[in-house]
């Protein structure tokens, strides 16, 4: 029987395994060095905040794997021998495969800062990071201040986590405004204010120069590049993005760049070896998408597709319209289609913000054809399906504004803002 081995028990590897099982009775083994069972990485923050116990982040009961005849192996893969189709583990064991799926995800970026490997300095990616955080920042007497380096989605989650235990946080953001490489200015500014309203010491346009150590090799302060200011702290969170976790692949004949290079069928240069999820890098970019996409949804889609291919139905990875979501403290964010930080050529933005400063939307559209390109929505839930349809139908921006209420997904009885948005839109159009 063909043996499919998957390295990585994250969303992409597990989705692949589940779908291979759905379509076939091949032998399946999932390897992970991190945890015994699949858990939802996106929920790590809620464990530290006490919203959930760790076991609640596991989407399947523990006997699911046995019931579905999926073998789980805990261990760290050190090398891949593609000639002998064999994996070698750090422990010295080895495992033969017929087909291999690399789904090893990401690791936190470290840019060579002095002191980045001190105790009390860690990223926020793996379960082990959560455990380190619990050890170094259990409360605000042991951790008097934490410094977070890097203003992205994980950084702001870490800020919220620490704030939930009343630990003072200094948040160093390299950009002049939070996440403004992705968010248009109005939104980014609103989030700046929201972060500060949660008593986070937000430092914009600030880079980390170094982390200083105390006599025991523990972080005791950070120095800011621009001002030379020293900030005393007990914990430093490094959240300046992630990179594919593929160091162990480099010694094999599998071609890599930032990630493991794959074609549209998620195949690497070596037959019978595939890569999916955060660690895969597309040779040919797909539309506006980046070659490495470190998001949950793409990992899930790639898992489904690679399962098809492995089960004899070779189909290309063909993600639909871009969508994503996040939450910034109390403000939910969703996006459908493309909204760029600065409108692309021949594009413009329509921006509406509610006076309470927690809700806004931005629509990007083409100024020549009026085609609707995408929407960012903050504090108002919208329907994925409706926007997907409108993007397929290439609706124009007027249509979208007029029919916005069909896309509303807020709970019943919530105040609605479609009329207000419409009026703002009409007024802005008249002024142009």
């Amino acid at each position: 029987m063909e043996h499919i081995v998957i390295i990585g028990n994250g969303i992409s590897g597990v989705t692949a395994a589940r779908h291979i099982r759905k379509h076939s009775s091949k032998k399946i083994t999932i390897i992970s060095a991190e945890t015994d069972y699949f858990f939802s990485r996106t929920a790590l923050m809620y464990v530290y905040m006490g919203h959930m116990a760790f076991e609640h982040t596991q989407p399947y009961e523990n006997d699911f794997w046995k019931n579905n005849n999926i073998a789980l192996v805990k261990g760290f893969v050190k090398t891949i021998d593609t000639e002998a189709k064999t994996l070698r583990f750090e422990s010295g064991d080895s495992l033969k495969y017929d087909k291999l799926i690399i789904a090893t995800g990401s690791k936190s970026n470290k840019f060579g800062w002095p002191g980045q490997d001190l105790q009390g300095v860690f990223g926020m990616y793996h379960k082990q990071d959560l455990e380190a955080l619990e050890q170094f920042a259990p409360n605000n007497t042991i951790c008097k201040r934490a410094v977070i380096v890097g203003g992205g989605l994980i950084g702001i989650e870490l800020a919220e986590m620490l704030a939930s235990r009343n630990i003072p946080v200094t948040f160093l953001v390299r950009e002049s405004s939070f996440w403004n490489g992705v968010l248009p200015n109005g939104e980014s500014q609103m989030i700046n204010r929201h972060i500060k309203s949660h008593h986070i010491d937000l430092r914009l346009s600030c880079n980390l120069k170094e982390i200083k150590s105390d006599e025991n090799g523990r972080a005791k302060s950070v120095i800011i590049e621009e001002t030379g200011e020293e900030i005393a702290c007990n914990v430093v969170g490094l959240t300046a993005g992630v990179t594919p976790n593929i160091a162990f692949v480099k010694s094999s004949s599998i071609e890599t760049n930032r990630g493991v290079l794959v074609n549209r069928f998620l195949e690497t240069n070596i037959p019978d070896v595939y890569a999916i999820g955060d660690c895969a890098e597309q040779r040919d970019p797909i539309g506006n998408r980046r070659p490495v996409e470190a998001v949950w949804y793409t990992g899930r889609m790639m898992g489904e597709i690679v399962a098809q291919t492995i089960c004899g139905n070779r189909i290309p990875y063909n993600p639909g319209h871009w969508f994503n979501s996040a939450k910034f403290f109390d403000i939910e964010y969703q996006t459908y289609g493309w909204v760029f930080a600065k409108p692309k050529e021949n594009h413009a933005h329509f921006h509406w913000k509610h006076e309470d400063d927690t809700k806004c939307i931005t629509i990007e559209y083409n100024t020549l054809t009026n085609e609707f390109i995408g929407i960012n929505t903050f504090g108002i839930r919208m329907r994925h399906e409706v926007f997907n349809t409108w993007l397929n139908e290439k609706r124009d921006v007027d249509y979208v504004i007029d029919h916005l209420s069909e896309a509303n997904f807020d709970p019943e009885f919530y105040t609605r803002f479609e009329e207000d948005i419409k009026t703002t839109y009409k007024n802005q159009m008249q002024n142009i």
Binding site: M49, P59, Y297, A326, P411
Partner: protein, 528 residues
């Protein structure tokens, strides 16, 4: 490592989340109120009972209000479940167990030893705790208090003031506020005040909480109750007709339009207590598949029991002679069997697909009921059904289901098994409404395409133990008979994935065309 982490996290003390000074004071005030009630319990003679009662209840109310203000008003609006799994009370810690034991003991005393609370029987006046409530009872209905009046008063206070807490907690969420306002209104008006006033108007009428519908209100068709209504002219007749309409007309229509939530989360008193005083325990419900299996067997067994029991009760006081009263034993049993058969056939013919694998269980349930009724009919005598006295059957139901299940386990075990144990495993009304919701309702929880990140907040906070995530991560809508439509899964979801809706019945269960983000239709591919 894993173990260590769990351990350090479940201890209440070493964590940062201690009570604030204001919260401690509020807690003290609230406990003072309870303490005064406890003093009364031990028959310590308190002067000026009316004032003392007012003071004690006032302390409880003020304590809860101040605590809630401090807990929520200092924070920004939004989901604030911080430290729920660190606090002893809400994570089955020492405090949780202690509270469970105290509540359970209270229920045991209330149901089985009311004299310990000071109930005076046979005209002897009340003492202790119950006597303390005499002034309030006299004020409302003009009679001395009973253990049920004491219980009702405390119950109402719990719903009102923990309801206030809940409204603050969800002050960003209008759905939560409105439905909580609604259960507060129904509890105060319909369950507490109106029956007392009705007694004042007409002291012969049986206690009737208009919103309590059979089979939840299992005693409404008891002989004493029916006689009580019928001997009271038009008002009594109107009430009993209303009771029948509630079951056979109002309930199905509302459930069709809104799902069972119209009752379970907006009207019902058991649900009301669960959602307010029980809110801190919703995360304790078991999400295991095995719990779901147990739930389906238990709740439907209770339903079968209550249908048979009620039929037997009515049967036992009907006569054989149609000249005396048109409804005879024979006619009645024929009507019940006929009704159940029509219902059963209609479901089997029109709704077979929706039922799926459950067809088998539905059929088993039906034949068990019919079988039992036939046995009863052919072996029954004037006062015996199933060879036991009809009234014994009725008291068994009252004891095991009405008291032990719904009260002692259902509420006493809040801090151990979660706040909807009764609603989930035992309530026959929930079983009927759930059946309607599953088969004939516009209600569903819509999943927002591919946006789910499988975080698990929804499943964790579903008080009915529904593994919401297992549907959401596949992009499927949630149509489950047990869902009470509390809307908390939707509220806690950090990605805006869930929406409670009433829409068209067609396409309610959307498993064939889910949108997860891929541009290929995997289902089509499979069919190829």
């Amino acid at each position: 490592m894993n173990h260590r982490l769990q351990e350090s996290m479940s201890l209440a003390k070493p964590d940062a989340k201690d009570l604030t000074g204001k919260q401690k004071v509020s807690l003290f005030i609230g406990i003072l109120g309870l303490f005064i009630l406890a003093l009364a319990l031990f028959n310590i003679n308190l002067p000026n009972q009316g004032l003392v009662l007012f003071f004690a209840l006032g302390c409880i109310a003020v304590g809860i209000v101040l605590f809630s203000n401090d807990a929520y008003l200092n924070k920004s609006k939004g989901i604030k479940n911080d430290a729920v799994w660190f606090k002893s009370i809400s994570s089955r810690g020492v405090l949780g167990w202690a509270t469970g034991i105290v509540l359970t003991s209270f229920y045991i005393v209330l149901y089985f030893f009311p004299q310990l609370l000071g109930l005076g029987k046979n005209g002897v006046s009340n003492t202790g705790l119950i006597a303390l409530f005499d002034p309030l009872s006299n004020l409302l209905s003009g009679r001395p208090a009973s253990q049920w009046f004491v219980y009702g008063s405390l119950y109402t206070i719990a719903i009102l003031f923990f309801g206030y807490k809940f409204i603050l907690k969800y002050r960003h969420n209008r759905y939560q506020q409105l439905r909580t306002g609604s259960v507060m209104f129904f509890q105060l008006g319909f369950a507490f005040l109106i029956p007392e006033f009705m007694y004042r108007l007409n002291s012969n009428l049986p206690y009737y909480d208009l919103k309590s519908i059979w089979p939840l209100n299992y005693y409404i068709f008891d002989e004493w109750s029916v006689k009580g209504f019928l001997s009271n002219g038009n008002l009594g007749l109107a009430l009993i007709v209303f009771g029948l309409l509630s079951i056979f007309v109002i309930t199905p229509i509302l459930t069709y339009k809104f799902g069972k939530r119209w009752y379970c989360s907006w009207v019902c008193g058991c649900g009301g207590l669960a959602e307010t005083a029980g809110d801190s325990f919703r995360q304790l419900s078991s999400k295991k598949l095995s719990a779901w299996k147990l739930e389906r067997w238990l709740i439907h067994t209770v339903l079968v029991f209550s249908v048979v029991m009620t039929t037997a009760m009515i049967y036992s006081y009907l006569g054989y002679d149609s000249n005396k009263f048109w409804l005879t034993k024979n006619l009645f049993i024929g009507l019940v069997i006929g009704f159940l058969t029509i219902l059963f056939l209609a479901v089997m013919i029109f709704k077979r697909n929706e039922l799926g694998k459950d067809v088998k269980y539905g059929a088993i349930g039906y034949f068990v009921v019919i079988g039992l009724l036939l046995i009863m009919h052919f072996t029954g005598t004037t006062n015996e059904v199933f060879f036991i006295k009809g009234s014994t059957l009725r008291s068994a139901y009252g004891l095991y289901i009405g008291s032990i299940f719904s009260g002692v386990i259902g509420t006493g075990f809040y801090p151990i098994l979660g706040n909807r144990v009764w609603c989930r495993f035992g309530c026959p009304m929930a079983a009927i409404l759930g059946f309607q919701q599953r088969l004939f309702s516009k209600f569903r929880i819509t999943t927002n395409g591919g946006q789910c990140i499988s975080c698990g907040n929804c499943s964790t906070y579903c008080e009915m133990g529904i593994d919401v995530r297992s549907y959401a991560q596949k992009g499927q809508n949630i149509v489950r008979s047990s869902c009470v439509g509390c809307g908390v899964c939707s509220a806690v979801c950090p990605r805006g994935v869930l929406k409670l809706e009433n829409g068209s019945v067609k396409g309610r269960i959307n498993s064939n065309d889910v949108l997860l983000g891929n541009n290929v239709n995997l289902i089509d591919l499979l069919k190829r």
